[in-house]
Symmetry: C2
Subunit: 162 residues, 2 copies
DNA sequence: TATTGTTATACTCTATAACTATA
DNA sequence: TATAGTTATAGAGTATAACAATA
């Protein structure tokens, strides 16, 4: 296949996705924000496939992970870590409490504050979820080499740094 | 600050985010899927800040971008490109039609199919949106060097390849 | 029958606003 | 007054199911 010479300074041809039969111009194929959105769609898809039956949503899982690693952690701290509003954390914790995975207690030295702990059932469930999460991540980035995965994580961390 | 020697084979200490005052263990700081979720939160935040008043949502914008680059494109094709269900594209197109930015016509040679075009008003609005989108992307990745941005995009493309 | 598209509906995730209780 | 947390609610984004029209 040959191509005509391109005028000096002319834009490069649009990149294309899904170069199958009816390929169309994909003006967003160069957009980091758009590609991140597609990547997250894939990540959620992978999550749902792997966590089916485990009784947690992606957001619920992220809250549970922070409670597992930080027994007694407060809702406000979780909200900061996850970059969401405290009201959302409250709702997610409600679901985890209803599922019997998490308990709320009151901080004696700061009666306004809640302290979040996993229940025994929560700890047991967490073991399987932790394994499942490792597998899910591995599948998510399975198209990348180990070095590329590290690079990807490093770039994301730099992008998110504040 | 000194640290005790670590037993051979022991896990490295948990990475921490937001190493401010009350830093907590962030067991998800190594998870590509979780970091992608945080990155998308930032991307939407940036979108809303920059597109305020332009009358489109992120999903609506992505549909409009495909119509702008592919006059006459069909809803099903857009659904494939955006990796969402056709029913969602229908709703997003409804909103763009209601806003006067897009028109639906019927394909004469395939009466089942719709053909999507921008209106004159849509084309005018699109010019500003395209500029805004470039700025938004630039701010989204402003912590990265140009080379890192290219690397980031390349890794995302590889990750998404199917 | 299979394909294209749409409507109706439900669920997840997030944000804002209003409220209670404590500091 | 300011802070920690919660409830109530709304909006965006996605999916599934049921349907109509066309191939």
């Amino acid at each position: 296949m040959s191509s005509l010479p391109r005028a000096k300074g002319a834009a490069a041809p649009r990149p294309r996705i899904a170069a199958g039969n009816g390929a169309i111009a994909s003006p967003l194929a160069d957009s980091p924000a758009f590609l991140v959105r597609l990547a997250q769609l894939r990540a959620f898809e992978e999550f749902h496939r792997n966590f089916a039956g485990l009784g947690v949503t992606p957001a619920g899982f992220s809250v549970l992970a922070l409670i597992a690693a930080n027994p007694g952690v407060r809702p406000g701290t979780i909200a900061e870590e996850l970059r969401v509003k405290p009201s959302n954390v409250a709702a997610l914790v409600n679901a985890l409490v209803a599922a019997g995975l998490v308990e709320r207690t009151v901080d004696e030295a700061e009666l306004r504050a809640s302290m979040l702990h996993m229940t025994t059932a929560g700890a047991r469930a967490w073991q399987e979820m932790e394994r499942t999460h490792r597998d899910t991540d591995a599948r998510f980035v399975e198209a990348l080499t180990p070095a590329e995965r590290r690079q990807f994580v490093a770039l994301l961390r730099k992008l998110l740094h504040r």
